[in-house]
Assembly symmetry: C2
Homo-oligomer: 230 residues x 2
DNA sequence: CTCACTGTTTGACAACTGTACAGCTGGTGT
DNA sequence: ACACCAGCTGTACAGTTGTCAAACAGTGAG
């Protein structure tokens, strides 16, 4: 054997780069091993690095996972949003594209579900993870409410309460995503998209009673201060 | 101190009883500790029993968890169903009671969500848990489809495809339950019930196009034509 | 070239894990 | 009163785990 005279035993990296590499390795570990992937040694091995390095760059394993959570959640959301925003498309079409992106093959990969379960299960114990969850959930619902807001501003769409509408649509999307992740054969992605579109259709149709804003029609005649068109 | 002359060091039980006690202890452990509750020693301690007894009654820890999954899932479903079935009530009212039961305080307890996450996260690795998941999910959707079937048989309700309707309603329920479990302050249980009722309302109104059965001749309902902005 | 800085490794630590198994014991049938 | 044995215990085992102090070695500056 000819020993190489100059084989560096490790590579130095700037803290930022190393932290990002560790986060990436964490995501890969969670994707592949689920809960068992939350292991300093496993993540370090995935990153091609020693285990002790993790504690050197992150206060704890859970802090690393929390950082990975934030990275993945924001990445996915912006990916879906980017797919949804088509310049010359109406609100209805944008929502459809949002749904499509939500049930694209990359989103239905089993490893992604395993990863998400790890994040969710850490919420109860770890405050940092809980904080990430709160932030990303707000961002997700804001994205939906923005699209729904554009829809509401369209002609022929009855006024509806934005916040509960966002909640319901987010729940429908989440629920379908989970069902599809739990049992890939239960239904096809196109069906999920159609079911979401159905809900939007019903919303535009005014067929979701509890979401409609109360139009004080009866009182408006008595109270002359009403400015709405009659 | 007067030492009791005859303090039995352990209590004998018939296998069936002991197994059920272990399952109950498992559920309690998962409820309290989530993923960390999956531990032979912890479960044994909860049951007031030595750790070795678990391997004596169950081939492995995951088999015990799978049994606990089946027990809890069936218990919850039959509890909800029992609450939903009111003798002199129409299908619409029964569905409303089903929703109510789904968002009762007992169902929104944080420990229940932690427990469920453990079950779900084991699906990917353990075949027995996966089998339980498949079975219980079918039972759950069957229960919904049964109620929806009664609804469809009602007067004034348009024909709709039962299976995708069950899928959508199950997803909406699951999604709302998860959102509520993740963030108890996001919305009140009554809102969740209202959103589910809205969906049923839209279904009865024929406002969910992809669920409507294609009527070859004289489709009178206007829901098939888009009313929203396009 | 040498030095110092600092990212990285190493090894050790105590506390866990699931499972196996030899032996003890409670309570029942005789 | 006795014996049996199923149910149960306790220990042992080979693995894990996260964290940390100390030693190490790349790498750029002087």
């Amino acid at each position: 054997m000819t020993p190489k005279p100059h084989a560096p035993k490790f590579h130095r990296a700037t803290p930022t780069v190393r932290r990002e590499a560790l986060i990436e390795a964490t995501l890969e570990c969670l994707r592949k091993h689920g809960h068992d992937g939350v292991s300093a040694r496993r993540i370090a091995a995935e990153a091609g690095v020693s285990a002790g390095l993790i504690t050197h760059h992150f206060p704890s394993i859970s802090a690393l996972v929390a950082a990975a959570y934030e990275t993945l959640a924001m990445r996915l959301l912006s990916s879906i949003q980017q797919h949804a925003i088509e310049l010359d498309a109406g609100p209805r079409e944008r929502l459809r594209r949002f749904f499509e992106a939500s049930f694209a093959p990359a989103l239905l990969e089993p490893g992604l579900f395993s990863t998400w379960l790890v994040f969710w299960s850490m919420i109860a114990h770890d405050a940092a993870v809980r904080a990430v969850q709160d932030r990303t959930y707000v961002a997700y619902r804001d994205a939906l409410e923005s699209l729904l807001g554009q829809l509401r501003a369209s002609k022929g769409v009855p006024a509806f309460k934005l916040r509960p509408a966002g909640i319901a649509l987010a729940a429908l999307l989440d629920g379908l995503w989970i069902e599809a992740s739990l049992n890939a054969e239960a239904f096809r992605p196109a069906e999920a998209v159609a079911l979401c579109e159905d809900w939007v259709h019903a919303l535009c149709y005014g067929a979701l009673p509890s979401l409609l804003v109360q139009r004080p029609e009866g009182r408006a005649r008595r109270a002359a201060s009403s400015v709405g068109p009659e």
